[in-house]
């Protein structure tokens, strides 16, 4: 059940109506409803993996309690590591087993041996990376005495399985989400309208921008050998908008849906393509994952408290792990390493926190310097996306190599007239709203007259209906 499907719209409408009208606004009953809906939502993908989800939830719930009730530190540590190992074990088996086996086999071949290794025919359970990280953060926070364990299993299960964030995040923290689950939720008109607006903007980004980009990007990347260089440039640029529209669109729909149910989720995107350097890009792209790695890996490793060398080492580890989190492929590792390499000069010269504010704050236009900084950063990110999108490292380098030909100076054979116009609209709207949380937030401030606002909504809805590309699944579901 995709967020951009009629099935989800009907499902959500039903949940919304029961949630606010048939539960007596009692949060415990609402939580039971959310849990049943979330299991149904997940079961629509593959009901077999519901058992894995329930087991994973039960494991972390149980170890959380056991750690708190443990008689001594030794027992506490035992339960902690048991949870960590099983969680990472599942992730390893379902996501990385075949990658390691194949890589090992390749290594043996390189040294002249003939390996007889069989791979497993495993299907990646959708959202495993996301809900595993939810559980891990919960267990780690309890172990570090940052939170008390949740003793109500339903409440805890809703924290892990809440359907808007179950399959592609944002990766929530117990400190942020659990308190909202364990208290009364009141319907707030302003927030509900805001939620609908964020869903609308998310659908626009996903259906109009990302899906239409995909219809051009896919054939270019699949047949890059035969494409003129101008098409390859176009393909790489459009993939940047595809993945942004796809993932940030998903996040907007998730945040908007949750807000309609009275729950605030963590922000996941902060207009990353308006970043002035790579460090700023990473403060604005997939924020919930970046901060997760910062809090649960970078800081425990020592963060930037030690020597410069330790700081560089830790940063490199974070980028590699972040790349590897995305999938079991050398391309993702290379993508992580590429970004680490871009980040290092900033870190070494102490310029990684130079741009912590919003670009051109309080102004309509950026300075020329800021403009070129944004364009340069965007182009670096686009190069990275080639590695992210290509099926192998060889293909990624082949793609880049093919760009350097005389056909670079021809017109692309793909026409992007209407799509280009919509990308321009996306950039303009987000530029104007860059100091807010998403594209349409507080639109009433400059479209005061309600009919004008509604006209904008109707035009967006008609654009979604009219220019919706072939419906594609969300890219981040595979992670």
């Amino acid at each position: 059940m995709l967020f951009n499907s009629i099935q989800f719209a009907l499902f959500f409408l039903l949940v919304f109506l029961i949630y606010w009208f048939a539960t007596g606004r009692k949060y415990k009953i609402q939580n039971i409803l959310l849990l049943i809906s979330s299991y149904y939502f997940y079961g629509c993908w593959n009901w077999h993996f519901l058992f894995l989800l329930i087991f994973s939830t039960g494991l972390d719930y149980f170890t959380g309690l056991m750690m708190t009730d443990a008689p001594d530190k030794k027992h506490r540590r035992f339960w902690f590591w048991l949870s960590i190992c099983i969680n990472l074990g599942f992730l390893g088996i379902f996501k990385y087993y075949n990658f390691f086996i194949n890589s090992f086999a390749d290594l043996l071949i390189v040294v002249g041996l003939t390996p007889h290794i069989s791979t497993l025919s495993v299907i990646l359970p959708v959202g495993i990376s996301f809900y595993t990280f939810h559980g891990l953060s919960y267990v780690i926070d309890i172990y570090n005495d940052r939170i008390k364990p949740e003793r109500d299993f339903i409440n805890y299960s809703v924290f892990v399985c809440f359907f808007p964030l179950l399959v592609a995040g944002p990766i929530e923290r117990a400190t942020h989400l659990l308190p909202q689950i364990t208290r009364e939720r009141n319907f707030d008109y302003t927030k509900a309208v805001d939620g609908l607006r964020q869903i609308l903007w998310g659908l626009f980004k996903k259906i109009v921008i990302a899906d239409n980009c995909a219809s051009i990007v896919n054939p270019i990347f699949d047949n890059y050998h035969t494409q003129p260089a101008s098409n390859l440039i176009l393909g790489a640029l459009l993939f940047a908008f595809q993945i942004y529209g796809d993932f940030s669109g998903y996040s907007d729909i998730a945040l908007g849906s949750a807000r309609l149910l009275g729950i605030e989720l963590l922000r996941n995107f902060g207009f990353p393509y308006f970043s002035r350097d790579i460090a700023e890009f990473w403060r604005r792209w997939h924020i919930s994952l970046t901060t997760w790695f910062r809090d649960y890996l970078y800081i425990p490793l020592g963060g930037s408290r030690g020597s410069k060398w330790v700081s560089i080492r830790n940063t490199f580890i974070i980028f590699l792990v972040s790349g590897f989190w995305h999938g079991a492929n050398w391309t993702f590792l290379f993508w992580g390493a590429f970004h680490a390499a871009l980040f290092m000069p900033l870190l070494v010269f102490g310029r990684n926190r130079l741009h912590t504010n919003t670009v051109a704050e309080g102004k309509y236009l950026p300075s020329l310097k800021e403009f070129f900084q944004m364009v340069f950063t965007f182009l670096l990110v686009v190069i990275g996306w080639i590695f992210f999108r290509a099926p192998s490292i060889t293909d990624a380098f082949g793609y880049i190599h093919s760009v350097f030909s005389l056909s670079l100076f021809t017109f692309p054979t793909h026409k992007v007239g209407t799509l280009g116009l919509y990308i321009l609209i996306l950039l303009l709207v987000e530029w104007m709203q860059r100091e807010r949380k998403y594209g349409l937030e507080k639109i009433e401030n400059f479209l005061v007259f309600k009919p004008f606002r509604w006209t904008v909504y109707i035009l967006l809805i008609f654009s979604i209906i009219q220019f919706g590309g072939k419906s594609e699944t969300f890219i981040y579901f595979q992670f």
């Binding site: 009629i6 606010w20 319907f187 008109y189 509900a192 309208v193 509604w454 909504y457 109707i458 809805i461 008609f462 654009s463 209906i465 009219q466 220019f467």
Partner: protein, 308 residues
């Protein structure tokens, strides 16, 4: 909460009104007098022909693949070719002729394979059916049932919006000079065959290379079976023949499965699908549309079956 519900309902009503207005009152100039309007002429002929008659039912495979005059001369039955567009879907294509089937008639159905594939929408129809029903022949709305209506709702909305925010309606694609001449109402002869393209040379045709191993839509098969029973109950003869095929290798796994299931349902093809495989030189611009020579050969196959 009340304010939220009220505003939501008002907003939904406004959108619904805009969509209904567009659907019923805004003309679609893009399809003006194109091949979809041939549907009106076909219905006029269907209503006017006395029984016994031959009714040909299919998609564009029949519109662009049959010489009805040849059939009429060989069988001495008056013929009407109702085939026009696969996007009308199996249900509509069958329902639009049902009222005119009489004792002694011969009903020939040639279902395009997409209608019988599981997991696609071709049983119910596509957006082009909405264009037909709202901007060509509104009286045909009576052939829709509730199930189809629900299924076609997204297409209906999409079509209504397409009239407000102009875009090309993908009725028949677009192409060169010849294209503008053959996808017109006037390109059809009195029998309902598109005959203008017979004078044009073969065009390039893209043919799939991967094997089609789609599942069979049991609902579509059941629809065909019920239609056969209906035809026979009216005292008419039912013949089902496979569409002509340009590249049998790709469709073989599907066609074989389909043929077996149709036999199980006692509604078999009158001839096996491989008998309708024709040389690629006999096709015109798609893997379903035949050129003049191809039309003659395929029509001859059909005549032989009718005369059996």
């Amino acid at each position: 909460m009340n304010k939220f519900i009220n505003n939501s309902l008002i907003f939904i009503c406004i959108i619904a009104i805009i969509i209904l207005f567009s659907l019923f009152f805004i003309p679609n100039k893009k399809i003006n007098e194109n091949s979809l309007f041939a549907n009106i002429d076909k219905h006029k002929r269907l209503d006017s022909l006395p029984s016994p008659k031959i009714i040909l039912i299919g998609g564009s495979n029949f519109a662009y693949g049959i010489n009805s005059k040849m059939i009429e001369e060989n069988t001495h039955y008056p013929v009407v070719n109702m085939g026009l567009h696969a996007g009308f879907g199996l249900m509509y294509t069958i329902n639009e002729v049902k009222d005119n089937i009489r004792k002694g008639d011969i009903v020939v159905l040639s279902p395009v394979y997409q209608w019988l594939k599981s997991g696609n929408e071709m049983l119910y129809g596509e957006e082009v059916l909405i264009a037909l029903l709202f901007d060509v022949n509104r009286s045909d709305l009576r052939y829709l049932n509730v199930e189809q209506g629900i299924y076609l709702l997204p297409n209906t909305v999409s079509y209504a919006v397409s009239k407000l925010v102009p875009r090309k309606l993908d009725v028949m694609g677009e192409g060169a000079d010849w294209y503008e001449k053959i996808y017109l109402r006037t390109a059809f002869n009195k029998y309902g065959d598109e005959s203008q393209h017979w004078k044009y040379p073969k065009q390039s045709i893209s043919i799939g290379i991967s094997e089609d191993n789609s599942d069979i839509s049991l609902k579509s098969v059941e629809t065909v079976r019920k239609f056969r029973l209906y035809v026979e109950k009216q005292g008419a003869r039912f013949i089902m023949i496979p569409p002509s095929l340009i590249n049998y290798n790709t469709i073989r796994p599907f066609a074989n499965k389909l043929s077996a299931i149709l036999k199980q349902n006692k509604t078999p093809f009158a001839i096996e699908p491989d008998s309708c495989v024709l040389d690629s030189s006999l096709f015109f611009n798609t893997a379903y549309h035949l050129n003049k020579r191809g039309v003659e050969i395929y029509t001859r196959i059909l005549i032989d079956k009718i005369l059996e």
